[in-house]
Subunit: 315 residues, 2 copies
């Protein structure tokens, strides 16, 4: 099996169980969540953001985080990461023995206020408390920056702000920085600017990229990230979630489509794409609506088809 | 205004009026077609595949090709191209004074048989007759190869076959060769192989690329085409059409998303993106269903939004 030590290995983080499910209207039963997560583990996904230790009032869909991780299959090759918004969340996450805690703030003050009702300084102060709890439990912390490549309220995000946050993350001992394209504002030049600035200032901090397909170019931005040497990307099964802000708009890039692309351009992920597609189709059935993922619908490119299966092209 | 002579200019062919509408169940009234095409002309689209001079029995949706071009706004900076499947089509297209005729065959025998009920040799023989009619009328001919980067029945398409067809096209005096990704099997390496092979063997024949987003990577393939120096791409308004063969699967890449990407990475198209988005939204309204285009829903990336417009991200 391909391991993270293999050449050309890309770590794909499946954020569906957290980022995909948190915005669903209907609660997905714990049993179902555990089954889906176990199928991700079996398919070889190397990192799963399985839930958020958030207040059940704020995000009732994820109120079962501790039960989910308590019952999910654990395996050495899959990191189980959870979002942790505050000290209480960190305490609960430590108790639940997660592999990694993920903290997050927004690159812009206005988005951070809107999202977590804190200033960026207040968020950073909270991270220190989380980091202490995590440290005592021997659990690494990963820091995310939402709206990292553009804020819907403030526009472009200056590279200096990203660099400043990256330095804070490094100083708190975080194992990496994730750049979140919260409302799909990433473009290849913007990605290049952000990644280059952080890497030059804080070269020891690994960067992961979390793109949305809100303007149709999520996977184009992945290609730019790959060109820049980034080896960690996040995506959601079936393309679920990612707070699309316009009717019909998509959010997170889709894991099956990402893995398909990575394999086709010569990267390894350790992931069984067909198993992933089966899972995505089951999730679509569960949700009872069309989800954005494409490869789960079309199948692998060289799958032979009968001549009655393919509509004519007339060009 | 940006002209095709400008540096970094990309010719975007809007195939929606032909490729998008041909597979719609409902006939789009001629008035509406003409209005949409005129809006494309006004938005600065440099080439429009406005219809097909095909038998009204085969494709009733396009039975008004002659009337459409007779009533549409003509302008020096917009080439009006029409699909021409046979001699009768060519005669009618010449009479209707189209700017360009487009002929097509499939790279694989089985797909060509299924699509046009001819062998590839028979198709090529037919092209000669079309080319003669076009030549007498002083109208250039563009040759398309469908399933150029993969056939759903036969799998990979050998580069030799593409080169052979390109030589035939050159010998018949065609002004270019279009590679059609009929069932969305293109990947960056496959695109590179195809484009490189044709360019090495027939360097004088301009290549245009027509991708589908069936597996989510249509625009990734565009980026590869751009890297290879290709300057002509085809797409459909709102992402309409392109014979998706699986429920929920998408076909043609979307023009607004393509133009958005091209502008963001530094190319010129001469196209007013906002006008294009308004048209795409009107087309979506007309079709009364969700269409795949993303930028028409999300808007330009730096459009300022109120804090109540954007859902929170929670990461």
């Amino acid at each position: 099996m391909d391991s993270p030590q293999a050449e050309n290995f890309i770590t794909v983080t499946e954020v569906g169980p957290r980022d995909g499910l948190q915005s669903e209207e209907k609660f997905v039963p714990t049993d179902v969540k555990v089954k889906w997560i176990n199928r991700l583990v079996d398919a070889g996904v190397s990192r799963i953001e399985f839930s958020s230790f958030v207040s059940p009032k704020a995000v009732p869909q994820l109120r079962d985080a501790a039960e989910v991780i308590g019952r999910a299959k654990r395996c050495e090759t899959t990191t189980m990461a959870a979002l942790v918004p505050n000290v209480r969340g960190a305490t609960n996450a430590a108790e639940a023995q997660v592999d990694e805690m993920v903290v997050f703030l927004s690159a812009s003050e206005s988005h951070n206020l809107k999202n977590v009702n804190r200033t960026i300084s207040e968020s950073l102060a909270g991270f220190k408390l989380v980091a202490r709890i995590a440290g005592e439990a021997g659990i690494p912390v990963h820091g995310v920056v939402a709206t990292a490549v553009g804020c819907p309220f403030e526009g472009e995000v200056p590279s200096e702000r990203l660099v400043d946050l990256a330095k804070h993350y490094r100083d708190m001992g975080f194992i990496g920085i994730g750049l979140g394209d919260t409302t799909g504002m990433a473009t290849p030049p913007v990605v290049e600017r952000a990644v280059t600035a952080i890497r030059e200032a804080v070269p020891e901090l690994p960067i992961s990229l979390h793109f949305h397909n809100t303007r149709g170019i999520g996977l184009v931005n992945v290609i730019k990230g790959l060109e820049l040497g980034v080896t960690r990307f996040e995506s959601s099964f079936a393309g679920l979630g990612g707070c699309p802000f316009a009717p019909g708009a998509t959010g997170n890039i889709c894991t099956e489509d990402l893995v398909y692309l990575l394999h086709e351009v010569g990267y390894k992920t350790g992931i069984d794409l067909e198993a992933l597609c089966r899972l995505a189709r089951d999730i679509e059935s569960h949700m009872k609506r069309d989800l954005p993922g494409q490869v789960m619908k079309a199948g692998p490119r060289l799958q032979a088809r009968g001549t009655d299966e393919v509509a004519t092209a007339k060009g």
